[in-house]
């Protein structure tokens, strides 16, 4: 199935994607009601369940979030979490071969899955009248997977082609993967989610099934149901289909966060690249150490890079005219170190000199400190509040956000109080976040067209 690979070049913040992409209300900053009409419960077998009500249309989003991802793979078995995700569409003891996809199709469900470093997620969007069918099928493939060797081989070829198509056909991917590897060193977060081509080719049926039996169990999953239903209606159904699944002890190695102080630089020239890119990424502590400081960083990323009114764009694109785009992002949807990054695409009307480009980006970052005022902070908070109303439009939005937050160790309360948490951020805490950022381990990366080695401009 389609896999979403976290972009390495520009670590996206999920939160920002929601806040900027989907939502943009009212000036009432005092309103801090709970964002969603949601309820949580846990089955005896350990399956955590969240039900979010959205009664606009008779629709339901089911998402099952397994707490396992690419970082849990055995060394050298890169890509096995992702391959396994694909195999879950290939049949069980009770639903053979392509029947799963057939039944989903017949019931009008849009069915897909994705694998990230920390989670593997299976999801469907369908008419609410079909929910029992979705639950029966999803519960079944948690424990009854039955794959022929032929199907395994075919699917292994497919994920190999997927890597070629989605990653390698993008000429900037070697740069992105190298950057990731340098930043994360020997940590599994430094490896590509797809696995390397030679790893994919070497994946074995038995190993993949071991991975399945080890991690696919109700006590290692979170079920999110979002749409035209409520907990009272749906709980007995969840019990009926998921309740009978046996729990199994799951041991998941916690990845120790990186704490070394490292400052690195990467410069790479690649074929087919037409425009240089400059970025700087900062390795920050994990959420569990940062606590509510993550909201300060969240605001800082809005301030620096939340669109065309943010400070880096104002400075580098509008004022100094040295870039055609500039942005920032903060990825805290991870169980390990959170990563803050800033980036720009230089203006190549004039010849681009990498050292100067890096200097421009760094100076803009330092200058931004002076623009960080109570007024700007209040404005960012207003923007975030104003856009909360859109979170309850498409039911898929809530399912996705809640699933991510809970998977990364947040509680439903944290999601519900997101606006409150944002409003509680003070100017001092954003300034502190800024100072800590500048002291963090970092990596400066420049991507250049192959024709350009230094100081020459290849722009037409």
């Amino acid at each position: 199935m389609k896999m979403r690979i976290r972009k390495v070049m520009k670590p996206k913040i999920i939160m920002n994607k929601f806040l900027l992409g989907l939502i943009f209300c009212c000036l009432a900053t005092t309103a801090t009601a709970k964002i969603f009409n949601a309820e949580e419960f846990t089955l005896d077998n350990g399956l955590r369940v969240v039900v979010v009500e959205n009664h606009k249309a008779p629709l339901i989003k089911q998402m099952l979030w397994y707490q396992v991802g690419a970082v849990d793979e055995f060394r050298g078995h890169g890509g096995s979490a992702h391959l396994l995700e694909h195999l879950l569409f290939r049949g069980t003891a009770k639903v053979s071969g392509d029947e799963f996809n057939r039944i989903m199709e017949k019931n009008g469900a849009v069915s897909n899955a994705f694998t990230s470093y920390d989670v593997t997620v299976f999801h469907q969007f369908a008419d609410v009248s079909r929910l029992e069918v979705l639950m029966a099928l999803e519960a079944d493939r948690m424990q009854n997977l039955k794959i022929s060797e032929d199907d395994f081989e075919a699917e292994r070829k497919i994920v190999f082609q997927e890597r070629k198509q989605v990653v390698e056909n993008n000429p900037s991917s070697p740069f992105a993967e190298r950057m990731r590897q340098m930043m994360w060193g020997t940590s599994p977060y430094g490896q590509p989610i797809t696995g390397l081509p030679e790893e994919i080719t070497a994946l074995k049926y038995a190993d993949t099934m071991d991975f399945y039996h080890k991690y696919y169990t109700p006590n290692n999953a979170i079920l999110v149901l979002s749409g035209d239903t409520d907990a009272a209606t749906v709980r007995p159904l969840v019990e009926k289909y998921y309740g009978k699944l046996k729990k199994r002890p799951v041991e998941r190695d916690e990845q120790s966060p990186l704490s070394e102080d490292i400052h690195q630089t990467l410069q790479m020239s690649l074929p087919h690249i037409a425009t240089p890119r400059v970025s700087r990424s900062f390795m920050l502590p994990p959420r569990t150490e940062l606590n509510d400081m993550i909201y300060a960083y969240d605001i800082l990323s809005e301030f620096l890079g939340g669109g065309e009114t943010a400070e880096l764009y104002r400075d580098l694109v509008l004022k100094k005219r040295v870039a055609v785009s500039a942005g920032a992002g903060y990825n805290y949807m991870t169980r390990s170190n959170t990563v803050f990054s800033i980036s720009m695409t230089p203006n190549t009307e004039k010849p681009f000199v990498p050292e100067t480009g890096v200097q421009m980006l760094n100076q803009a970052l330092l200058r931004a400190k002076y623009a960080l005022t109570e007024k700007r902070l209040a404005q960012i908070k207003r923007k975030i509040s104003a856009n909360m109303v859109y979170l309850n439009d498409n039911p898929q939005t809530a399912a996705n956000w809640i699933g991510y937050m809970l998977s990364m160790g947040f509680e439903l309360e944290d999601v519900q109080n997101y606006e409150e948490k944002i409003n509680a951020v003070t100017l001092e805490s954003v300034q502190k976040a800024f100072d800590d950022l500048l002291k963090a381990s970092d990596m400066t990366a420049v991507l250049l067209p192959l024709e350009q080695t230094n100081g020459e401009n290849n722009a037409e």
Partner: protein, 462 residues
């Protein structure tokens, strides 16, 4: 003796009944019977109130779908015959520049203020340029309707178009133009249009060329907007937390001051006759990528639904499609292969695409063409058609997931002339299609061999 015999019969019966019973239990537990689960489900169908009202204000018609559960309103609109195909030959990229420039300052607000205020009020405004139309989008929390009106009317009636921002935006377009050619799919999109639509305005790159972008100026923006943003070529869809009377007032407030005259002639229909030609563009990327195409049918033609179902079964139903089963699921030759229909103002196409490593590419193409030919010759089976109809009908409600999506759909319904009752009738349209109609359409359209545009490395070159 008789007694004994009766006993055996009885035993046999008991064993038989027990066996049947056990087999029944085994069947139940060894298979998942989705139809049975559905039939017994406590969750029942609910009809989404999809009544579309046709409203008119100030001589402007619009479709409205009221939905009051969440306090947001979405307005989608399109200016027809105002897309990139209507740019002058030497002004390519103009509509793209225009759609960007509309948000760079208007009325009381410079670009920064405009964007700040929009975000602070949760007002989303956006424009995009297609080949045929310029589309616009306005979404707001109900409480901020007045601010939304103020912002969009500033854009429509008092855009700044400052020289400063024009220079910046042109520069951004030049960068985007170069970046588009970094990836094989960017090259393919460009070459595909250039080759398949040669001589037609659709052949031009929407982003323009380095030279035409360079030549764009403020006067071009002003004049194109004056002649192409009018009451006569606007199509409007409104959805969400708003009544019919309020919607009418909103139309007057937003669009009432647009000019009345519109004189753009429609461009000529694309004449596409495919013969299986292969256009190969060498490029050293890990995968070779293709788009193939033949003649399709327009959205309002009587062939539409039959071909829609034929195409769905052949290549537009994800992993269940005929072509995906053969090329992807069975052989593992590609990550994805698909076909799709497009209906633009002056072209209707049946297209498709896939990408694979060079050593797989020709094999995949061979299998594709085999299946394509089979489709023309034998068509689809009744059970395939029934599965497709079930799927399309069961997924009908998914189109109502977001208010913004509904507003956009209301615009499309008017553009394709589907009628205000389309949403209520659509499932019947799907049901009514017969197997003969589908197979006649398959014969007619899959009977043409598609042309291929390919970007990548040939296996033999390696």
């Amino acid at each position: 003796m008789q007694n004994k015999f009766a006993k055996y019969v009885l035993y046999a019966l008991i064993v038989g009944i027990f066996g049947l019973f056990a087999w029944g239990i085994y069947r139940c537990h060894s298979r998942i019977d989705a139809d049975r689960i559905l039939a017994r489900s406590i969750l029942k169908d609910r009809t989404f109130a999809s009544t579309v009202q046709q409203i008119e204000a100030d001589g402007i018609k619009a479709y409205l779908l009221e939905e009051h559960s969440n306090p947001i309103i979405a307005v989608s609109f399109a200016f027809e015959k105002a897309g990139s195909a209507y740019e002058a030959e030497n002004k390519q990229g103009l509509t793209l520049l225009l759609t960007d420039m509309l948000l760079n300052g208007a009325g009381e607000y410079d670009a920064l203020q405009f964007k700040d205020i929009s975000e602070e009020y949760g007002v989303q405004i956006g424009f995009s340029a297609g080949a045929d139309d310029i589309s616009g989008f306005l979404q707001m929390p109900t409480a901020n309707k007045n601010m939304a009106i103020k912002l969009l009317t500033s854009v429509l009636y008092k855009p700044y178009f400052t020289y400063d921002y024009i220079g910046l935006t042109k520069n951004q377009m030049q960068t985007a133009l170069r970046n588009q050619k970094e990836r094989p799919n960017g090259i393919l999109a460009d070459k595909f249009a250039e080759i398949m639509f040669a001589g037609h305005p659709y052949a031009r790159p929407a982003i323009g060329t380095a030279e035409t972008i360079n030549g764009l100026n403020r006067a071009d923006l002003v004049s194109f907007m004056r002649t192409h943003f009018t009451k006569r070529n606007i199509i409007i869809g409104i959805a969400g937390d708003i009544s019919a009377d309020e919607a009418k007032q909103l139309i007057i407030d937003l669009f009432g001051r647009l000019p009345e005259q519109f004189e753009q002639e429609r461009i000529a229909e694309v004449d596409l006759n495919t013969t299986g030609a292969v256009h190969y563009i060498a490029h050293d990327s890990p995968q070779t990528i293709t788009r193939f195409v033949t003649k399709g049918t327009h959205r309002n033609s009587s062939d539409f639904y039959p071909l829609y179902l034929a195409n769905y079964i052949f290549g537009d139903s994800g992993l269940n499609s005929k072509i995906s089963k053969v090329v992807r699921e069975k052989e593992g030759l590609t990550y994805g292969i698909y076909t799709y229909m497009t209906s633009k103002d002056t072209s209707a196409l049946l297209s498709g695409g896939y990408s694979s490593t060079p050593e797989n590419f020709e094999k995949a193409k061979e299998l594709l063409l085999q299946e394509w030919q089979k489709m023309a010759q034998t068509g689809v089976s009744l059970s395939e058609l029934q599965q497709a109809k079930n799927a399309l009908i069961a997924s009908h409600n998914l189109r109502f997931a977001s208010i913004g999506g509904i507003a956009e759909m209301l615009v499309a319904m008017q553009q394709y002339d589907l009628g205000a009752d389309f949403l209520e009738k659509r499932n019947d349209y799907v049901r009514a299609v017969t197997l003969d109609e589908v197979n006649a359409a398959a014969k007619k359209y899959f009977g043409n061999v598609p042309d291929f545009v390919i970007v990548g490395t040939k296996d033999s070159d390696k």
